[in-house]
Symmetry: C2
Subunit: 378 residues, 2 copies
């Protein structure tokens, strides 16, 4: 009953194109706009493809085209396809969905003193270096940029090189320092330690890549802590599959309410599982932040203990000395983090009034970084 | 074996607080920062809550507090809780996850000439009207704003009233007109019809609310078509549950490659199921755009026909005359659409060289609209 057109290729293999597939991808001027390379079907009638049936099919060797005549397709009676187009679609489905063009390299403490390092100015001036940086962020999820001027504005300059800043309730970029007055919203702007987390989990639409530019480090302490959340999740999956399931199934409610200097009041609430899976079951996103985690739980009451145990075990993997890397970002350096994967925190610090720790941060979304990578590739 | 503290309330009901829950929510100055209302635990040791055990518990009636002594919790030996805090958390889990504070009102063609209407200037000047608008967008997903000046910049002005523009590869705002030269990326900037779709599905992070301000309508045609994608999905679920499953399970690959006047080149690719479900099984997002849908399919080859049939049936519900609403946006009017729910398109149009159709569009994310709503509520 399946309506199919069989095409046998030079290598002897065959593709069976369903009629409906060829109808959907008709390249005629009513169905497809060559200028924009987009489908241009605007008439709802055409959405009833199921009836469309190929009456005749003919390959013209002179111009390498397949000519089709349709019945039961309204006023639409013919299609033709370049054989090259058919060849490019000899597999009409993806064998493997290449959501990520780069295989992720999970890492642990061997990354200490081995963070992938990039020259800031080289990225600003060299497309292939920018491309290498995006690929590194896809693969490793962390990189150290060196050679930055020690003034405000470098995060914006860098992100504009990629695309544009992803603004948030903390501004286009945000300034991490302790001189914000009394109207504080987040412990990130105090001098205590900050447990490892991913940023802005109180957004449904979590920013993709986090950049932290150190203008002035703390005199004492304020060391960065980072861990590969994907590795911790994979370890959890291997050792405690039931905990892994719990952390993919039950979300956490996050909230952040307040303001920052010169900005509007906000009250952000979002729900994320600690481990979010892709539709194909791969790990897509780690979302976790102790400081913004709400007290009320989403997990049902008979799962509360398991949920806590799962969360605890996940964090123990993240903080495992074999996994966590600790270092102190120096002035003129910027760290870039995949905010869907890498957890980051810091130790508490001391500073003097005339020399406060100062970090400028900002975000660029993965959509834009990947787009830039593809554009450079062309 | 469960370690629990039972509290019986005045109404005779009891809450059993697991020890680990009280440990996690300890309000002492090492664990919680009252200024920012955030957890301030920065020491990984504390993540090993499972061992922490309450040795003594005592309610002090004089100051309405519960005092706890801990064992097996390192140097952390005591907690105390305001009884009011415990009362506010007498249910430690959500009975119902109120992701959306407003019940959605699904709609069809009865919305014709009945679109919820708002005065643009009133929203600009009146917080309660802005609040009413966000609630309407949550509930109905569409609204008509009237009384706008007929010049560029109103989308930005309006969105800045809510929060800030969500920038995309088409700019901070985008101008829909046919006078873009030959370097066209999207059929939206031509004068043909545009099948009903949701915007920017070639972003993983799809913008939340779409605003379209009409500065000048087409002389002939260019009518807007809208349909409630959630209603179409619910109808599909009721009539063809197997099709509904397919559209939640298999993603579509979307791509948009090109540029717009004065902007950088982009090459956006993203994957979305037509119907994305929330973790609790509710419909979360409709994502569909014929013009950016790739020819290669994610659905496996033995599901291709079912996938097409499912997509077709979904679109037939969307285009059902009982569901779709058609109208012509006039100059000085702006339409707002929940881009996670409402599909929109337009009919082809004709215009004269001295009077081209001109629409300015832009986005604001749901995170920000909901944040503004909550801030106004306080």
């Amino acid at each position: 009953q399946d309506k199919l057109i069989s095409v046998t290729w030079d290598d002897g293999k065959t593709t069976n194109y369903p009629h409906i597939y060829l109808r959907d991808n008709c390249r005629c001027s009513s169905c497809f706009d060559p200028q924009t390379q987009q489908r241009s079907i605007s008439n709802a009638v055409y959405h009833n493809y199921a009836n469309a049936t190929i009456k005749t099919a003919r390959v013209d060797d002179k111009n390498d085209k397949l000519y089709l005549e349709w019945i039961n397709d309204g006023e639409h009676t013919t299609s033709n396809f370049e054989l090259d187009w058919l060849k490019a679609h000899r597999s009409i489905t993806y064998d493997d969905i290449e959501v990520n063009p780069v295989t992720k390299q999970l890492w642990g403490s061997e990354m200490k003193n081995n963070l992938p390092q990039f020259d800031y100015n080289k990225i600003l001036n060299d497309d292939s270096e920018l491309h290498r940086w995006v690929r590194c962020m896809l693969k490793v999820g962390i990189s150290l940029l060196v050679g930055l001027p020690e003034d405000i504005g470098q995060v914006k300059k860098f992100v504009n090189r990629v695309a544009y800043l992803r603004k948030t309730c903390y501004g286009s970029t945000f300034k991490i320092h302790t001189d914000k007055g009394d109207d504080l919203t987040t412990i990130a702007y105090k001098n205590g330690g900050l447990a490892m987390h991913t940023d802005l989990v109180y957004y449904e639409s979590v920013p993709g890549i986090l950049l932290l530019h150190c203008l002035r480090p703390a005199k004492q302490g304020g060391e960065n802590q980072v861990a590969d959340g994907f590795k911790a999740a994979e370890q959890l999956k291997a050792s405690h599959p039931e905990y892994f399931d719990i952390l993919t199934k039950y979300a956490i409610r996050y909230q952040d309410e307040g303001t920052d200097v010169g900005l509007s009041n906000f009250n952000q609430i979002a729900y994320h599982p600690v481990i979010r899976l892709n539709y194909n079951g791969d790990i897509k996103q780690i979302a976790y932040a102790d400081h913004a985690r709400c007290s009320k739980l989403i997990a049902p009451s008979d799962k509360v203990l398991s949920f806590y145990n799962a969360m605890t075990q996940f964090l123990q993997y993240a903080y495992d000395p074999a996994n966590m890397v600790q270092f102190k970002l120096q002035s003129g350096c910027m760290i870039a983090l995949d905010n869907y994967r890498i957890m980051h925190g810091r130790t508490g610090f001391e500073e003097s009034a005339d020399s406060i720790r100062f970090i400028e941060g900002g975000y660029v979304d993965w959509d834009e970084a990947l787009s830039r990578m593809r554009v450079i590739e062309k």
